[in-house]
Symmetry: C2
Subunit: 82 residues, 2 copies
Amino acid sequence: MFNAEIRIELKPGILDAEGKTVKNSLISLGFNSVKDVKSIKVFKISLDEDSKEKAREELEKMCEQLLANPVINNYSISIEGD
Amino acid sequence: MFNAEIRIELKPGILDAEGKTVKNSLISLGFNSVKDVKSIKVFKISLDEDSKEKAREELEKMCEQLLANPVINNYSISIEGD
């Protein structure tokens, strides 16, 4: 069993509407020191594979097929014990 | 200027609807080795404070006032160089 984290970010230049909204809300609340906010999605996945290599291969496929949109997202995969 | 990450997770026992949906979708796609999926939200925040202590204090307040719901969320803060 492997525990992994997939981290999905927006590519540079893609509008981060959520990050922008959170930034504006923080400033409205008086947090004037805030200069930038970026939103990132993380999925923590436990999977039952024989080797770390096979686990990474499967996680790559999951990103390509479901979790990340290649047009707007970059993703990174880290597997526990990396 | 400090770069920080706020990581917001659901407390244990709180239903993670997004994680559950992603898990089911992955299994539907044939990723049968997936045992569990948890969704986590991360905000990457740049803020202009004089000291790391003050930055952490402000970030704690941001979590309490806006970013995390204390009833259902746990959060953790990491500041670059920690």
